[in-house]
């Protein structure tokens, strides 16, 4: 099995669960952090022994709230990863404004983290409250300044639109805050009311299509006007600041995910570590592989995933790589409708097409 160049590390601890969150997180288990670090390092070692870790182009520390691991543990983790990093590797970490401060950021920067993704979500207090976010807008602004001071040259912020109670004015304010803060990269998602989340259980009404479309189009336009490129469905970057780790996902590259609930896709096979913390800790403490579920991917799965992922990108997808669509006839009609451009080698969505990427995907492919 060929070694991978992209590594994801899941750090699941949180001090509380947010109303929209459906990730694998552990609340109230902070006492297990040392054990978890040991387990994670043990899993890393197993993968290294198995020859699966190559020269790492990108590393991503996600959560949870990775910063809750504290600089001491994160530095220990980075010490073990550093030998695998390729020159110029991107090392990203997620951070929440309330769980980190200037000195901590400086320590992370020294440990080798060179890209920071700040979970701001909104700058409006009532919208943060609707999402159960603990941080204040002031903390978010403060953190941006601290991150720059700590030497981070790749700074991203995460925002959400479609929050219950969000008006057009709220959106304009968030947009203005983002532009004023001037991050290098912005991820701006529509709120997904995933089943099982507190917001979904509360019967929160989602944005209707037109409200969502207005907000989405305003965000795209506003950021583009300020010099950001809309390089992926929900991601914007100043040229040269795209997230290389995410680009690996969207290019359907192989990646290794370590930690509870983490997913890996290597050589046509995908597996997911079980989500339960206890099972993960126990297995690795006993020198075993963590409990996993496996999902083989056949040629059609791979082809359909490439289309699903590739069409998210502004640059489009090379046909020789993605394989033919299930319904090639649709290319002509979609092209005539001004929704995509294609030639013998490449398919890319037009700007208008990118707003309805999912519907186009269904025209081209049979997901069965």
């Amino acid at each position: 099995m060929s070694p991978v160049a992209h590594l994801y590390l899941h750090l699941p601890f949180c001090s509380s669960r947010c109303g929209y969150c459906a990730f694998v997180v552990n609340v109230g288990a902070l006492g297990r952090r040392d054990e978890y670090l040991d387990a994670l390092l043990a899993e890393l070692e197993r993968e290294r022994e198995a020859g699966r870790i190559g020269a790492l182009q990108t590393v991503y520390l996600g959560g949870g709230t990775p910063t809750l691991m504290r600089p001491r543990r994160l530095a220990a983790l980075m010490d073990r990863i550093r030998p695998h990093l390729a020159p110029g590797a991107e090392v990203s970490m997620e951070a929440n404004p309330e769980s980190v401060d200037g000195p901590a950021l400086a320590a992370l920067r020294r440990a080798g983290v060179n890209r920071l993704s700040l979970g701001v979500q909104s700058f409006q207090p009532h919208l943060l409250a609707a999402l159960d976010r603990a941080a204040t807008p002031a903390q978010a602004r403060q953190l941006m300044t601290c991150a720059r001071a700590a030497g981070f040259e790749d700074l991203s912020i995460d925002l959400i639109f479609g929050i219950p109670g969000q008006s057009a004015v709220d959106l304009e304010r968030d947009l203005a805050e983002v532009l004023a803060a001037g991050p290098d990269h912005v991820s701006w998602y529509e709120l997904e009311l995933k089943p099982g989340t507190a917001l979904a259980r509360a019967g929160t009404p989602a944005f209707d299509e037109d409200e969502g479309a207005d907000a989405y189009r305003r965000i795209v336009g506003g950021l583009e006007d300020a010099g950001y490129r809309w390089y992926e469905t929900a991601n914007f970057a100043r040229p040269g600041h795209e997230c290389r780790h995410s680009l690996a996902y969207w290019s359907a590259a192989d990646y290794l995910g370590l930690g509870v609930g983490a997913v890996s896709t290597v050589g046509g096979e995908r597996w997911r570590n079980a989500a339960a913390l206890e099972g993960y800790l126990a297995a690795l403490a006993e020198g075993q592989a963590p409990p996993r579920s496996r999902e083989p991917l056949d040629a059609d799965d791979v082809r359909r995933e490439r289309w699903m992922l590739g069409l998210r990108l502004e640059r489009g997808l090379p046909l020789v790589w993605a394989g033919p669509p299930d319904r090639p006839d649709a290319l002509a009609s979609l092209s005539a409708a001004g929704l995509l451009r294609h030639d013998a080698d490449e398919v890319a969505l037009t700007r208008e097409g990118r707003f309805v990427q999912n519907a186009i995907l269904h025209e081209l492919m049979d997901y069965a």
Binding site: E192, Y249, G257, V263, T265, E295, E305
Partner: protein
Amino acid sequence: MDQGHIRNFCIIAHIDHGKSTLADRILQLTGAVSERDMRSQVLDSMDLERERGITIKAQAVRVHYTAADGETYQLNLIDTPGHVDFSYEVSRSLAACEGALLVVDASQGIEAQTLANTYLAIEGDLEVIPVLNKIDLPAADPELHGRAVADLIGDDPENVLRISAKTGEGIEAVLEAVVERVPPPSGDLSAPARALIFDSVYDQYRGVVAFVRVMDGVFQKGDKLRCMQTGLVVESEEIGVMAPVMTPTGKLAAGETGYLVTGLKNLGDLRVGDTITRVAEPAAEALPGYREVKPMVFCGLFPVDADDYPDLRDALEKLSLNDASLRWEPESSQALGFGFRCGFLGLLHMDIVRERLEREYDLELLATTPNVEYKVTTTMGEILPVRSPTELPPPTNIAMIEEPFVRCTILVPSDGVGAVMKLCQDRRGVFVTMEPIENRQQIVYDMPLAEIVLDFYDQLKSRTRGYASLDYEIVGYRESHLVKLDVLLAGDTVDALSMIVHRDEAYTRGKLLVERLFRTIPRQLFDVPIQAAIGGKILARETVKARRKDVLAKCYGGDISRKRKLLERQKEGKKRMKQVGSVEVPQEAFLSVLKIGDDGNGK
């Protein structure tokens, strides 16, 4: 048994007034069914009948009862269908009896259907025994309803029996009244044998089984028999009675009811209402009252999944085995693909067939708007039957269109008269009469059947809080100003959505139709204009705007599989849509058009 000890009777009752429960009690009391075997509503054997509490197929059950006079009598209870769609079958069941129990709910009183069937019984010279059921209910008003029932049949209120089939109170008295008041049959045992077919079923092992009432003479097992109306000759492979399961007796004599196994494979060959006689010694005259049952309501049934077409055909074939009045023939639609145009006795019949196809045969169906059979006179003087809007000739070739009218009898409490009259007027009804019956009004309107088959009954019920009851009979064809209303999606006519409507209603219907489709057709990648038109003239238009946003918000390494599966689920959902030209139309859109009859204010 001599005819003097035989009583043939049936039960006339409105749905839910307790006919089946009373029948169960009679079987129990006479020991025909043991306590242990007692399933509630033994006579209603189909699941759907049991569930809806209605009887679709009539049957005859024989029990023996030792009366107060010490004599043992043979009682033949003939079950009757309880719905307007099956009124011909009801009339044949009544023709097989000398008496009828008129069962009325003591809390609700007489309903329109009961009224109609009671008149049928009186016209047929049956002894009608009035029975008030459910006297145990707190809302029961036996005084009021007892008087009304007595008035209806010209009897003394004293003679109205008061029972509770649920608790068993008064059942003996009912049986005593049957023995005392229902006249015994008076057939001529020595005359050439004649029997009336009042029902038939298809039995998987025996083939077609006829339920008969022997009027004269004797039938034996092995007799060669002739159906006098159709000329069909069959052999009586087995002969017997329902007690309540099939019990061979070898013969049936004048005055008795029972069954005949005919060996026929096709239920449609044997006609309810026909007279059976012996080939060897034929009767001179058939029994009166036979008529051919013709379907009144038609609609197209199409499988949602085109691959289910052969299954739909098989299912219709199987249903036809036991439902001779169901008609069907292949039909193809540009919009809906291959399906069948089906003919039904009425709306309930249509509902039941659709429900059985979906439930028992696990088929997902799309049904077109039901319509009646029109008579079109062309400018060339030809008369064409038209059972589907697509069969209508171009307007320039039509000299006249006629449609079937029915006489509707509606019983409603006085405070509902206004609502009922408004509804009837709105549905092109022509007022005939109104008169009080007990504490209610009987309103009679002549109405186009087409107006009834949409959702008239539902509307009647909802506008009178469930208190109105309806009966109708066909009164013939009348000329109407009818036009074909077409629906265009993205510029193309959708044949399955065309309907024949009155010219005065075309604009309102068209507008409503377009609004309904507008609300149910999801946004697509391009604008979808929806238009209603007569000929080339557009009456109404809406446009479903193209989608402006459809993306999966996030997709990272951890949820690639989940997103792919989400796409698979979305695809599954799209399978439930019909591709009509370039437009994806959900099943609900077709259903919403079906409900076009209501006024759009909700139910």
